[in-house]
Structure formats: structure tokens, C-alpha cells
Amino acid sequence: MLLIPCPWCGPRDEVEFGYGGEAHIARPTDPDALDDSAWAEYLFMRDNPKGLLTERWVHRNGCRRWFNLLRDTVSHRILAAYRIGEPPPARGEFP
């Protein structure tokens, strides 16, 4: 079970959190400008990297805040946690 560093509450067990999928996928501001394929890209298509991934989590049974994690999907190491609206850490900082 992961130990997730909530940026508001500190480290807590994974059971307190909900997963929200890949982070930094903004909802298009003008959906009508997108054709079906581009809209489907936003709706359905997600990266599934072996390695570093930025992802959204919500401290559902805690402060109820959404935030982002940078996590290695191979080692399950959490490399950074940051609040919504903050830029993702540069991946070059991590091996």
C-alpha cells in the first residue's frame, strides 16, 4: 500500500485516497472546435507509461482535496506531490 504525501495533510495510507487518472489533461475550452477524433482523444486516450507519470489523486477520506503526484509506475516510488495549479516538476530532476 502506497504512503501518499498529501500536500495538505502529510503522509497518509493509500486507503484514504481516490485515484483520478492522468494529470494535466485540461478540458478543451471550445469543444465544438474539435472533430470527433480530437474530442475522443481528450475523453478516452491516456498515456500508460512504464516509468514516470503525473496523476491526480483526491484525499477522499481526509481533507477531500485534489492534488497531483509524480509517480514511477514501475517502482511505485512517489517522487513529488504538488497542489492543483502548480506546475509539474521538471522530469529531468528525477533519474
Binding site: L2, A26, D32, F44, V58, R64, W66, G85
Partner: protein
């Protein structure tokens, strides 16, 4: 003497106290300090169980949790537990156990006849033999095999024991309390770090308890006791004896089972938990789990009396029990020669020491001086039906096979050792731990891991005592330092390690492939737990199951409750030899938790029965119970389904529906999800979330709303009310309240943080009594005399605040039944009082309470859909005919809302999608089953194209007939067309119609 195999001196047992126990119905005696296994051996019980597949007699092989063969059924009735190993059951007074698999008795087992059929039931036998005909398999073979094979009996009664859980964090978790673990705990503990030391055994010391080791000036066990005494004084150190760490998971998360009241058996005090489950989060882990001895594979290597050399040593030294009176050793490493010396010291004749190596080390040879030593020999066979009587040896030829003439040696004990395997189950379970095959040690050792683990001592492949202490000390210091605690010595210096009497006698011979004749392989057991033989492994390799994970599943090697603790490595070696690969290339199977079997009881803890899941009750619940309501579960809520009055459900529901349609009825709507939204941008936010508009709703008005996910599929619906310009009150479906609240928060926090909106869940703050029916106005008027209720002043879709029966209330003129209806919301603690006053006042109009079933019938008669019944995540608002709900904003004609763009996707906009329709069966008494598939024409060859399915179906009380809602391809343009529902026992003809059956103009609803 009642314990003929008990030594008169020595051992960690209390001879002054007698513990009485029964095994297979016979009475025996033992002492505190015994395990069930040692007590059985002391009493000369050799056959403890029958084997899984061939029903061969099996005895005790090991002295620990790795025991593969001697499985017992512990206790009886509600306390019974199958598949227990007598080697890890601490003996208690009154214990009852029985050997497993035997019928009718251990001594005479009918199933043993199968043993003679061994060659006929090789691996894969079931797959090959019983695949056809299938009927015969179900009717004959499977029941017969299930009776013959299988493990112990699962209990059929609820577990009466109590189980507890604890959650803890620590700096350093030391797993294993042998010399390495104790040294690590001392070093880490002296630094002041928070340390937990856990060991499966009831006494700390590990291998130090098994034989005489010198540490410093005294005996190893004494050193261990001293170490424990020092650890016990440390305020931040927690000692957990009798605690098995069963799983290691990501993030240094460990699960352990502590045996608490279990050592007292069923007679333990009621308040004492039988076991306790520990959830441990450690910053660093020191793995000092030791090593398990591996048995060599040779013909008939499973007879009672054939025992791991380390187990022999343990029973002699720790339990003062003679596992036999005349012993032979078959060992491939120098360390095991000490066992011969220990046996001789206990007065047990050592008839032979058999070693496949050409020559043992000098020190080892000196230990056994004067004993018959057969270097370069192997055991090629054994005899003895109910216990070992004789072994045969042969010289080992240059190519590894046995040659020359056989020597027979009489004995009743064969101590075997094929070397040691580091216990790395935990290491490999979590943290991405990978094992590496060490050719020098001929064993798997720790490789890379992502977890914060240090392996020390035998677990790391370091078999010498001096190295165990040194590595433990270094790892304990390192772990504490990494957690921010300084060097461990009192003066800030590392503590000096004591001297040991360690000798260079720990080298292991490579694990040679066992030496087997063609005939012998069929009874040379690799996995005693599952009766897998060397022949089975060879067969798997021949038949193409050459990958280790395939061979495992084909042969069942390493499966079951034992997980191959003793047998896997020999199986690997055999498979490697058969496929011409190295052991390293063959690899291991995956290690999965738990390390030892864990009972469901301890996993559940106290979260069972009523505490298994929270139960949510409305404020009026007690009234419903008193009224004899039948309840249904809606999520965690208990809701009245109907209120029978000496009638069946159909009659009760009909009566309740007619009360609402003709007079007045009362419904408990308290479970409805309720969310209040505040803030400057609340309306703007809702306009983006719902398909309909909210900004143009006047204060005091209500509106029905539907929301979609961004893929255009209906997610939830409910009624919203504008209480103030910046304040909305929204209801959700009962089951989706939390999901909708989360949905709001998600969009507010992640996508539109600039919106000033605050959400508050108020589901439990309000009780809701819904007053329904043409006389509803009369009842309410009697209780709220100051409230104007006429149609013009308080019309449909409005809210008013007023006192009802003296209780401040919000009254919503909305409904889900199609009748005149008032949803009266009052503070939750006044809900029951309101309900009772409404029932009391309504008595004049013959008011009836109604449940969810009547609610469903009435809403379906009106064509109101239910999220999750008419929808399944693939239904759009357009499919439900709700296109007109989509609110247009004259100032913003392109108003976007979640799901809007998706409604124009090629798939959601295509013709021929399933759409909501009504169905009227041709036979008015017919009620279609929900879920029934529909076809447009009969005849032709099955499968017929299915054009839709029934989503809701009831008998309409006021309609006086059965009716249904359905999703049908292109349904909106099929009104009037016939469809058929082919059911298993009949074909139902029905006609498609619009999905509104009652009060189509809405006059009754508008009151």
C-alpha cells in the same frame, strides 16, 4: 512412562507441568514448551496425516512453519481449523487434533489403495482423463475426487473467537528474531529509533535455540535471552513474539499475524483476542528471516521418520525429544555433521552418515569420528509401512548416478539435508524484489529491490553465526542512521560484537540433481504437500510445460497452503536438468502473500456481522420496524420496501399504490441525497454540470435536472431548488449522493478553481416525509393551517417554508408518483415526530405508508426513469427522450455543459440507438421479467437478433395490467410495433408504446 521418546534432561520445556491433549481420539501428555509436533514425537506418534493425492502415511518433517506433510485438523465444531501444522501449534492443555485426509482412520486408510495406482495418476491426469464426457465429470468424477483429495474440513459454524487489529508506524522493522535479527534490533534500538522486532516463535533466538552455540562467554540461547532483556527495557522498542509477518507490500507496508489467546485454545478468556492483525508501516526494514533447510529427493523419501536434519537437532536440543532411536544421516553439507554429534550425545545410535560428496571438510569429519561414514554415497531407497525401518545406499558414480551394490542399514530415523535456502518470500513479495541465483551457495539470494530493505544473516546467504551477528549489527545501525538516529553505542561508538565459536563449516555443496533410477522417480517426492514426484516434473517438461510457471500449474508443485517452502527448489533443479537449462535461467515462481495461511477471522477482525458495513437508518426507521415493514438495502441504507398487512408482496404493493392514487399515502424519502451549493458562481457552475439551466431559475422555484459525464452518458438526476440568488438545494439519487458530491468537488477543484462555489452535503441533516395523493392537501392543511396550499398560490415545482405540526419545515411541491405530492423536509431529529403526526392526522383519510416497491410502480407508470435501472453508463439523455430538457441560454447560445460535445459524436448521434419506450404485453396479466431480451420477429435460426431489453416491469395497480419500460433500438419510431420476449418457458408478445402510461396530461400531478 507415558512419553517414551522424551529425554530426561535438557530442553526448553517445563517437566514439572503436564499438559493433556488428544490426537486422533487418543490421550497423550506433553509439557509447556512443547509444540504439538514435539509432543507427538515424544509419545512416539509417527504417522500424523495421509498425503493429499496418494494417501501415503506422512510424519513430521520439519520443526517450523515450512512443514509440508503433517497437516492436522485443529479442534472441532466452531473452533475447528484445517491445514494446521503441528510444528507451529504451541501445546495447550485440552488440545484436540486429528490427522488429515484419512478415512476411516490414520492406520487404515481406504484411499491408500490409490497409492498403489500412483503410476496411473500422473500430473495432468485429471485434464486428460476426465475432459469427456462432461456430464460424467460433474456427476461422478468430481464428487469422488473431491472426497478423496483436498485438504482439511472448513468450519461450517461461525467462528466464536474474537480477533483484533492494530495499525502502527515504526522507524525500523526487524523481521526474524534469530542472532542476526536480535543484533539488528539491539543496534537500532540503542540509537533511540522506534523499532519493532517480530518472530514467529514464542521464544526469540532462532537457530540459537536449536543447538549449542557459544557467543562470548556463554551459550547462544543465553545471549539471546540477554538481548531480549535489554530490548525490553527500551521505551521505543516493541517485541512481537509469536507474530508471523505474512506480507510485504509497496511502501514498506507489512502485515503480520500475532497469536495471542491461541496458545490457550478454546478455553482462552472470552475477552482475549485469539489473534491480532498488525498493519505496520516501517521506514526501514531489516529482513532477518533466516533460511529453510531443503530435503533431498530420492525414492520413498516421504516415510514417517525421514526428517530435516535441523528439525532433528531442534527436537533433541530444544524439546528434549528423540525423533528416533537409531539414525542415519543423508546430508550434503558440513554443517549437518553437527547433527550426528548431537544425536550421539543424546544416546541415539548413528548407524551411518551418507554424503554424496567425495569428501567432507576436515572439521566435519573430526566431529563424527568413529561413526560409519559413507562419503560418495547416496540413499536409493527406504522401507517401512507405518514408519521408516531401513534405508539402502549405493556408491555414487562419476556421472552422478548410483552404481554398485546396495547396502541395507536398519534405522527408524533418517535425518536429511540438501543445504539451505534463504527465506526470501517477503523480500520477493513486494517492492519489486528480485532474487539472484548464487552458484557458490547453490541457492537464491536477495537481488535488487525498490523497498527500503536490508537482508542480513542466513536470509542474505550468510550461514555463519559470526557473520549473522556482524551483518545484523551493521544493518540495524545503518537503518537507524538513515532514519535520523545516531550511532548505537552508549558512548556514541558502535558496540563491540561478542566472539562466537563459528567455524568454517558452512559451505554448501551445489544442489546436484537427485539421483534416481527409472523406477524410483515415481515415488521420489519433490513436493510432499501436493504429492508431486520427480516423475511429474519430468512429464511436465516432456509435455511442453517447461516454463516454471507452467510446470507449477501442470503438476501443482508449490501450490496450496504450503507454497513450496521446502519443495520448490528441488522442483526447479529437476526442471532445469530436464530442460537442459541452468537453475538461474529457469527462475522461480512468483512469491505471493501470505507467507503462511491466514484465517479469514483475523482478516475480518471485528468488522463482521452488523459491523461488516455501516448501516444507515432514517430517523423514522423505528416506526417502520414497528409497522412490520419489509426492508431492502439501497446502498448502505435500509429502506422499507412494503408494509404487509397479512398479505403477500404483490397484494401489499397494489394496496399501497391505490392508497396513493385514490386517497393519500406517506413515503419516507429521507435517503435522497441532498447537497447545498453556495456562492457567487453557484448558478454558473450548475449550468456547466447539468444539461439544463439553473441561472434562469427564479428564487423559490424547483426544476428537474439531469447531469452527464463528459462522455455524454447520464450520470445522475434529481430536483434542484433555488433558495436564494446565490444558494441552491439539490437532490440526488439515494445511491449516488457521495459520487455526485465528489463529482462537484472534482470539477470545482481541478478544472474551474476560479468559480466561487461551496458544496455541503446535507443528506443526513434533513428528514423527508413525502405526502402523496389527491387528499394530501387536506392532511397537510390540517397540520400547517397558515400555509396557503391552493393550486394558484403554491403550484407544482415550488418551495415554501412553514411550520408543519409545529416543526419548522421546507415543503417542496414536487413528486415522483404522478400525484399531488408534498415533500416535507424537517431537521432530522424531528423526522419521526413529523411522520407520526402525518400518520395520525391522515388516519381520517385512511392514510397508508408505502415503500420503495410501490414508489417504483408509480414512477414507472409515469415513465420516470431510474439511474442505474433504465441507464447503465451507455445511455444518453437523448436516448431517454430528454432532448427538450437541454436548456438554451439566449445570451449564450453555445452554452457548454459536461457531455454536450459528446452528444454529437458519431456514435451517440447515430440512428438506431437503444431508446426508452413503454411495453404493453398482449396478455394484461403478464409481467415481463426485468432484463428480458426482445426480438422483432419470431422464427428463423437462433440466435435471433436482439433489439432491446426490459429495464423495469411491474403490475400497474391503477392501470390494472402488467406494463414495462424497455430500451429498444430506434424505439421512438417503433411505437405500435410488436415485439417478443423469448423466455425459457414461454414467449411473451408485447407492443411498443410511449413510455407514459398514467395521467399523460399531468393534471393529477399538478393537483
Amino acid at each position: 512412562m507415558t512419553q517414551p521418546f522424551r529425554l530426561q534432561v535438557g530442553g526448553l520445556i517445563d517437566r514439572g507441568q503436564i499438559l493433556n491433549f488428544r490426537f486422533d481420539g487418543r490421550p497423550y501428555e506433553g509439557h509447556p514448551g512443547d509444540t504439538l509436533a514435539s509432543a507427538l514425537l515424544a509419545n512416539g506418534v509417527r504417522v500424523v496425516a495421509r498425503s493429499f493425492k496418494y494417501h501415503r502415511p506422512r510424519g513430521i518433517v520439519s520443526a517450523g512453519a515450512e512443514e509440508p506433510a503433517a497437516l492436522v485438523q485443529l479442534e472441532t465444531g466452531a473452533h475447528t481449523e484445517p491445514n494446521r501444522r503441528p510444528t507451529d501449534i504451541a501445546l495447550y492443555d485440552g488440545l484436540r487434533a486429528a490427522g488429515q485426509h484419512a478415512w476411516p482412520s490414520l492406520g487404515f486408510d481406504v484411499g491408500a489403495l490409490i497409492g498403489g495406482l500412483g503410476p496411473l495418476v500422473p500430473a495432468g491426469f485429471y485434464y486428460k482423463t476426465f475432459i469427456q464426457p462432461r456430464a460424467l465429470w460433474r456427476a461422478l468424477w468430481e464428487p469422488a475426487l473431491r472426497r478423496m483429495a483436498g485438504l482439511g474440513e472448513a468450519p461450517t459454524l461461525p467462528d466464536p473467537s474474537r480477533y483484533d487489529k492494530r495499525h502502527v508506524h515504526c522507524d525500523v522493522m526487524v523481521i526474524g528474531g534469530g542472532p542476526a535479527g536480535l543484533a539488528a534490533a539491539l543496534a537500532a534500538g540503542r540509537s533511540g529509533a522506534r523499532v519493532i522486532l517480530a518472530d514467529s516463535d514464542s521464544v526469540f533466538g532462532g537457530a540459537l535455540l536449536r543447538r549449542f552455540y557459544r557467543i562470548g562467554d556463554g551459550e547462544g540461547a543465553q545471549w539471546a535471552a540477554g538481548a531480549v532483556a535489554e530490548l525490553a527495557t527500551m521505551p521505543e522498542l516493541l517485541l512481537l513474539p509469536e507474530t508471523t509477518v505474512t506480507g510485504l507490500y509497496d511502501g514498506n507496508y507489512l502485515v503480520a499475524v500475532e497469536r495471542v489467546g491461541e496458545r490457550l485454545g478454546p478455553a482462552a478468556p472470552a475477552g482475549l483476542p485469539r489473534q491480532r492483525l498488525w498493519h505496520i508501516r516501517a521506514r526501514r526494514i531489516v529482513l532477518a528471516t533466516g533460511a529453510l533447510e531443503r530435503p533431498p529427493v530420492f525414492p520413498d523419501n516421504d516415510r514417517p521418520g525421514i526428517m530435516l536434519a535441523s528439525a532433528v537437532e531442534s527436537y533433541l536440543h530444544r524439546h528434549a525429544v528423540m525423533p528416533g532411536r537409531r539414525a542415519v544421516l543423508f546430508v550434503n553439507n558440513d554443517d549437518s555433521y553437527r547433527v550426528a554429534a548431537t544425536l550421539a550425545a543424546a544416546g541415539i545410535a548413528v548407524a551411518a552418515i551418507v554424503d554424496p560428496r567425495p569428501e567432507a571438510g576436515g572439521a566435519a569429519r573430526r566431529l563424527v569420528e568413529g561413526m560409519p561414514l559413507y562419503s560418495g554415497h547416496v540413499v536409493v531407497g527406504t522401507a517401512g509401512r507405518a514408519g521408516l525401518r531401513r534405508v539402502w545406499l549405493r556408491p555414487r558414480g562419476r556421472d552422478g548416478s548410483a552404481e554398485g551394490s546396495a547396502t541395507a542399514i536398519d534405522c527408524d530415523l533418517l535425518a536429511v539435508s540438501g543445504g539451505w535456502n534463504p527465506t526470501l518470500n517477503l523480500f520477493a513479495q513486494g517492492g519489486g524484489g528480485r532474487l539472484r541465483f548464487d552458484e557458490d551457495l547453490a541457492a537464491f539470494v536477495p537481488g535488487v529491490t525498490q523497498a527500503d530493505i536490508d537482508c542480513v544473516g542466513a536470509a542474505a546467504g550468510s550461514l555463519g553465526l559470526g557473520r549473522c551477528l556482524a551483518e545484523g549489527d551493521a544493518a540495524g545501525t545503518r537503518a537507524a542512521t538513515l532514519c535520523g538516529f545516531g550511532p548505537s553505542g552508549p558512548s556514541g561508538e558502535p558496540s563491540a560484537l561478542p566472539e562466537t565459536d563459528d567455524r568454517e563449516d558452512t559451505a554448501q555443496a551445489p544442489l546436484a540433481a537427485p539421483l534416481l533410477s527409472r523406477r524410483g522417480v515415481r515415488c521420489a517426492f519433490v513436493d510432499l504437500h501436493n504429492d508431486v514426484t520427480a516423475a511429474d516434473i519430468a512429464l511436465a517438461a516432456r509435455e511442453g510445460y517447461a516454463a516454471i510457471e507452467h510446470a507449477k500449474r501442470y503438476t501443482t508443485l508449490g501450490m496450496g497452503t504450503d507454497q513450496g517452502k521446502t519443495g520448490n527448489i528441488a522442483g526447479l533443479a529437476l526442471l532445469a536438468a530436464a530442460t537442459g537449462q541452468t537453475i538461474a535461467a529457469t527462475g522461480t515462481t512468483s512469491f505471493r502473500p501470505p507467507y503462511v495461511p491466514v484465517s479469514y477471522g483475523v482478516l475480518a477482525g471485528r468488522e463482521r456481522g452488523r459491523l461488516a458495513d455501516p448501516v444507515r437508518l432514517t430517523p423514522m426507521h423505528d416506526w417502520h420496524v414497528a409497522a412490520g415493514a419489509v426492508f431492502e438495502d439501497v446502498g448502505q441504507w435500509k429502506r422499507p420496501r412494503y408494509y404487509p398487512r397479512g398479505e403477500d408482496m404483490a397484494a401489499a404493493v397494489r394496496r399501497e399504490c391505490l392508497a396513493a392514487r385514490d386517497r393519500v399515502a406517506l413515503f419516507d424519502g429521507s435517503t435522497l441525497g441532498k447537497i447545498e451549493l453556495f456562492g457567487r458562481d453557484a448558478g454558473r457552475f450548475l449550468d456547466r454540470i447539468y444539461i439544463n439551466r439553473w441561472q434562469n431559475l427564479a428564487v423559490g422555484q424547483c426544476r428537474y435536472g439531469v447531469m452527464c459525464r463528459d462522455d455524454g452518458m447520464v450520470f445522475d438526476d434529481g430536483i434542484g431548488t433555488r433558495l436564494a440568488p446565490d444558494r441552491y438545494f439539490l437532490t440526488t439519487t439515494s445511491g449516488n449522493a457521495a459520487a455526485v458530491f465528489d463529482w462537484f468537488e472534482e470539477w470545482l477543484q481541478t478544472e474551474w478553481p476560479e468559480l466561487e462555489v461551496f458544496c455541503n452535503s446535507v443528506t443526513e441533516e434533513w428528514a423527508n416525509a413525502t405526502l402523496v395523493g389527491p387528499r394530501a392537501r387536506d392532511v397537510l392543511a390540517a397540520l400547517a393551517p397558515r400555509l396557503a396550499l391552493d393550486r394558484a398560490t403554491f403550484p407544482f415545482m415550488r418551495v415554501r417554508e412553514a411550520d408543519v405540526a409545529g416543526i419548522p419545515a421546507r415543503i417542496f411541491r414536487v413528486g415522483f408518483s404522478g400525484e399531488l405530492s408534498y415533500e416535507i423536509n424537517v431537521p432530522a431529529d424531528r423526522g419521526l415526530a413529523l411522520w407520526e403526526r402525518l400518520i395520525e392526522t391522515g388516519a381520517a383519510c385512511d392514510i397508508a405508508p408505502y415503500g420503495t416497491e410501490a414508489m417504483h410502480v408509480m414512477r414507472a407508470e409515469k415513465g420516470y426513469f431510474i439511474v442505474g435501472q433504465e441507464t447503465d453508463g451507455s445511455v444518453t439523455p437523448l436516448d431517454l427522450g430528454l432532448g427538450l430538457l437541454i436548456g438554451r441560454d439566449p445570451d449564450n447560445p453555445d452554452r457548454d455543459f459536461l457531455g454536450r460535445r459528446s452528444l454529437a459524436r458519431s456514435d451517440t448521434a447515430r440512428p438506431g440507438r437503444k431508446q426508452l419506450v413503454g411495453l404493453l404485453p398482449d396478455d394484461p396479466e403478464e409481467v415481463l421479467p426485468e432484463g428480458a431480451q426482445l426480438v422483432a420477429e419470431l422464427g428463423g435460426t437462433p440466435p435471433l437478433p436482439m433489439i432491446g431489453h426490459v429495464t423495469s416491469s411491474y403490475y400497474g395497480a391503477r392501470l390494472g395490467r402488467g406494463f414495462a419500460l424497455a430500451l429498444v433500438e430506434g424505439g421512438c419510431s417503433r411505437h405500435g410495433e410488436p415485439v417478443w420476449a423469448p423466455l425459457p418457458d414461454r414467449i411473451v408478445a408485447a407492443r411498443i408504446c410511449p413510455p407514459v402510461f398514467y395521467d399523460i396530461d399531468g393534471n393529477r400531478r399538478d393537483g
